[in-house]
């Protein structure tokens, strides 16, 4: 084991080398997998559907529970629930992603211009951002969609994004304000780079994690809101989506009939998709703020449970302290370098262990 000097940095090293998937926080990984599965289902689901989701049986007057022909049972008029799900996930994911892309684009546009340009344009854009932020979104959506005779998924997504951008814009503006004062931006300006170039190649790359978090948050908001709106009967009811499935099951008294296979699958699908997005966002948070990382791994060092607010730990039975290594390891920990999960055995070199983990 070699003893190299460790560069202690709060930010994990970023470079051309690709990080291993397993090095991302657990929450981010679980979230990414869940979201990935849903995206795959959105793409291929309709081809996998065993039945035509809109097919009905005239002879049937009550919902049939799960059986080998219909794995998730049928609706009251004989529609196959599994097929409706497989077809419907696409529309729900589509609304979420479309609204997410448009709203994030607007947040970046407004947030970066407002933070970077400053002065009167900042005042104006901040005023607009804060004003749209306090407008009650759901009633406004209900009113707008109530007026539209037939709201397609695209229209719903568009209306959702028009109201969904201010939160991200506020966060991005704050970050831009702080980046603008940094030395590297001043240096870029001194070398005569144009404002446009500074924004695109100096400011925005430093906000990627923030933009990603804001995108994930907006997708979550768009999915939950669009499902709720469709459930209320204000969205697109002519196409299958998780929201319209819930609407028709409510309409067909699925709950009173005890037809759990009719309303539980779409509801749980939304919940899992939502949870995947929440976890992904937590993971992104943890990447940016290492203090939030999993407590079980973080607060054990040299076999001692380390509470975040405990004073400097005292390790009596180790010569690590004498060598001054432990305190440096502690400092690394305080600055957010993730220590090894297992306790450090006596005689192990704390420095290399920590370094290895920070790189990995």
């Amino acid at each position: 084991m070699s003893t190299s000097v460790i560069p202690i940095t709060a930010v994990p090293p970023v470079g051309k080398s690709r990080r291993k998937f397993s090095s991302y926080p657990l929450k981010a990984r679980i979230g990414a997998i869940i979201v990935g599965v849903f995206v795959l289902l959105a793409i291929f689901g309709p081809y996998l559907a065993p039945f035509d989701p809109s097919a009905t049986k005239n002879t049937q007057a009550y919902p049939v529970g799960p059986n080998w022909t219909h794995l998730l049972g049928t609706t009251a008029i004989g529609g196959d629930v599994l097929s409706q799900m497989l077809v419907g996930i696409r529309a729900t994911v589509f609304v979420g992603l479309t609204a997410g892309v448009i709203a994030t684009f607007l947040s970046v546009l407004v947030g970066v211009s407002s933070g970077f340009l400053g002065g009167a344009s900042d005042e104006g854009l901040s005023l607009l951002t804060n004003a749209v932020l306090v407008l009650p979104a759901l009633p406004l959506l209900v009113v707008i969609l109530g007026y539209l005779p037939q709201a397609s998924n695209l229209v719903t997504a568009f209306v959702l994004s028009v109201l969904g951008w201010p939160w991200g814009a506020r966060v991005i503006r704050a970050q831009t304000l702080s980046l603008r004062r940094r030395d590297f931006v001043a240096a870029a300006r001194e070398t005569g780079e144009s404002t446009w170039r500074i924004i695109v190649s100096e400011i925005i790359p430093n906000e990627v994690s923030l933009i990603a978090a804001s995108f994930v948050g907006t997708v979550l908001y768009a999915i939950l809101t669009s499902v709720a709106l469709t459930f209320l009967g204000l969205g697109d009811l002519s196409n299958w989506s998780l929201g319209s499935m819930l609407y028709w099951s409510q309409n067909g008294n699925a709950i009173t009939l005890g037809a759990w296979w009719w309303y539980l699958p779409p509801g749980l699908a939304v919940a899992f998709l939502g949870m995947g997005l929440v976890l992904l966002n937590f993971g992104l948070d943890e990447l940016g703020n290492p203090r939030l990382r999993d407590a079980t791994g973080q607060h054990k060092i040299a076999g001692h449970v380390w509470r975040p607010a405990d004073p400097t730990p005292v390790v009596r039975d180790s010569d690590l302290v004498k060598r001054g290594l432990f305190t440096r390891g502690f400092a690394a920990l305080r600055q957010g370098v993730r220590p090894v999960r297992s306790s450090v055995a006596k005689g192990d070199d704390v420095e290399t262990t920590i370094k290895g983990n920070a790189d990995g």
């Binding site: 004003a131 306090v134 007026y147 499902v227 819930l246 919940a271 949870m275 929440v278 975040p308």
Partner: protein
């Protein structure tokens, strides 16, 4: 003071957006309340259209600017028009009946969930990895479940299956709303299940945010210093760490006040609760445009006033804003 004037300008602007959107939407979209009324009563002669338009004040008389100014004047006189659904009741009188239901139920539920969530978040952060902290995955799930879905299942279990709570409505049949004990009792009984579902779902968000900010705050040097001074744990947690970590939560509370009147919409739909949200839903499904516009206006104004109050609280809680620096 600069902070307050700045916020006032923001709210004035937001109010203007709300009013203007309210004014323009019906004018951009074909059909109006008078036509909806004509469709509702097929016996009306076509000539009656003009009379209805005048009655409801929705005809397209005069220039757009003229219409806009008279619309503004009407709003400032509290004249929101006549509901087509509850004809001949005015929108204002319909609102007077429905607003208290929402404000009392959802207001109480919001405050309870905020206080509970914040306190639990503080404890979870302090006892990190403890029992409370291990509830986090469940909380994450709660945050991601669509609210109405959870409410539907709660109705199924507690009302349909076990008959512990009523299925919906604000009070039992046979009571007349008023300040008498039997009615209040019935109203409270009917509000328990909706309140619990609201608290359970919204508490998770407060708790998670508080916990995360608190964990960052606990790592600050002044918290370490406070401990090193030998202060009691309780003092360190509550007056050093939590006192500072709560600021984002207060700011979030201001924004969530919007949901007091707004997010309740879905809850009121599921429980058929006689509040503003359910009335708005009914207005939308029955094309009662004047009522829709009126409710949206009242909701926006309530939210703006509530935000202003929350700003004042923030001003008291965070001395830095008083020095006039941008928050």
């Amino acid at each position: 003071m600069k902070f307050i004037t700045r916020r006032l300008a923001t709210y004035a602007f937001a109010a203007w957006i709300a009013i203007t959107v309210n004014f323009f939407i019906p004018r951009f979209i074909p059909g109006n309340a008078a036509e909806a009324m004509m469709a509702k009563f097929p016996s009306l002669q076509p000539a009656a259209l003009k009379a209805i338009e005048i009655e409801f004040g929705i005809g397209k008389q005069g220039s757009l600017f003229h219409q806009y100014t008279s619309y503004l004047v009407n709003i400032f006189h509290g004249n929101l028009g006549i509901s087509t659904n509850f004809y001949p009741a005015t929108v204002t009188s319909v609102l007077k009946q429905t607003l208290p239901w929402t404000l009392i139920l959802v207001g109480t539920a919001t405050v309870i969930s905020f206080v509970l969530g914040t306190v639990l978040g503080i404890l979870a952060a302090w006892r990190r990895g403890g029992k409370l902290d291990q509830l986090l995955p469940a909380l994450t799930f709660l945050q991601a479940v669509p609210y109405f879905f959870l409410a539907l299942i709660a109705v199924e279990i507690f009302a349909v299956h076990w008959h512990i709570f009523p299925i919906g409505q604000g009070f039992s049949l046979g009571f007349s709303p008023g300040w008498n004990w039997p009615f209040i009792q019935s109203a409270i009984y009917h509000s328990i299940l909706p309140a619990i579902t609201l608290i359970v779902t919204s508490m998770a968000g407060w708790m998670l945010q508080m916990r995360n900010v608190m964990i960052t705050t606990i790592g600050e040097d002044y918290v370490l210093a406070a401990q090193a001074k030998g202060l009691s744990s309780r003092r360190v947690v509550w007056t050093y760490a939590a006192r500072n970590a709560i600021l984002p939560n207060i700011a979030g509370f201001a924004i969530s006040l919007g949901f007091v009147v707004a997010g309740a919409l879905v809850m009121e739909f599921v429980f058929s609760y006689p509040g503003v949200g359910y009335t708005l839903y009914n207005a939308v499904t029955s094309d009662d445009y004047p009522l829709m516009q009126g409710i949206f206006l009242v909701i926006s104004m309530t939210v703006l006033v509530a935000n202003l109050l929350a700003d004042v609280v923030y001003l008291i809680a965070d001395p830095r804003t008083r020095r006039g620096s941008e928050s």
